[in-house]
Symmetry: C2
Subunit: 200 residues, 2 copies
Amino acid sequence: MKNKGVMFIISGPSGAGKGTLVKELLKYPENEVSVSATTRSPREGEIDGVHYHFLTVDKFHELMEHNGVLEYAQYCGNYYGTPSAQIDAWLSEGKNVILEIDVQGCRQIKAKRDDAVTVFIVPPSMEILEKRLRGRGTENDDVIAQRLLAAKGELEMAGEYDYVVVNGPIEECAADVMAIFKAENIKAQNRETMCELLGR
Amino acid sequence: MKNKGVMFIISGPSGAGKGTLVKELLKYPENEVSVSATTRSPREGEIDGVHYHFLTVDKFHELMEHNGVLEYAQYCGNYYGTPSAQIDAWLSEGKNVILEIDVQGCRQIKAKRDDAVTVFIVPPSMEILEKRLRGRGTENDDVIAQRLLAAKGELEMAGEYDYVVVNGPIEECAADVMAIFKAENIKAQNRETMCELLGR
């Protein structure tokens, strides 16, 4: 029988490099990433099933009523959430399932699934975080200042997470996260192994 | 400043392959293994400071009185214990310090050092354990039967440990343990990183 996979929640402030990290992690065949669902309209270039599952409000409600979302939130009148069906299918195939969600979403999931392992990604320094936020070149000084303040607030939440990983060079960060995945896979397999050994 | 190292306790039944595993782990420069102290006389071929630190009873008592042993036990009128000085020195150098000790010793250390990480090594199956015990060729059937019974009893203790690792092919087992070491190093570094980021 195949061992059950582990659900990994990845959070961290904007500019910590979560997106880049997840892309790097997806190079390993044992990792899968959950795609969120939303009721907002697709933006230019966004592909259904890749960037989001774009759902109608009725369909989203239906999912919620049938216990089909692990966590959800509303922003600007739209729903955003994590559908559970694909995640459960991957877990039963023994995959590592990665969820890139915020602290509030993480709390909702931990309340339902206490075996989810949580990883908080932080920048090497506040200076580097600022540089990364500016590097996008899309925001003015006021927005940058606001984002830095928000990031400081989010960093205070790191203590709620099982692991904190510093995202300096991306390959190192991905290797650190893969070591965590491996250790947690071993931990999850403990119970089964012991049952077999003791003939239970 | 260098990050503090982590203390890893490795236990498991006789025949699980702890000795072979520790030898494999010592190929990595970041790992060190604690050498036990004993008041028994050296056997042929045993080297002081390698197999054991061979101490007089007075010297052992002195260590105990000055809080210099992490755990100890008496067998057949001799003391066996884990001196702490070298361990603390390695930890402050950022090393992984490996202690190969039994379940009772592990309990004594966890009571003093709750940051010690505990790993229980198990054989892939009871059949393989029996084969390994017989493979040594030194014991008769009665002794083997006793050892197997003792091993079953010890396996019941696995639940007290942070991780259980199956020791099949030694390279895989060592890789699993190294992943655990890495994940736990990352965990230990969390606090420092967060303090720096938040300027505390």
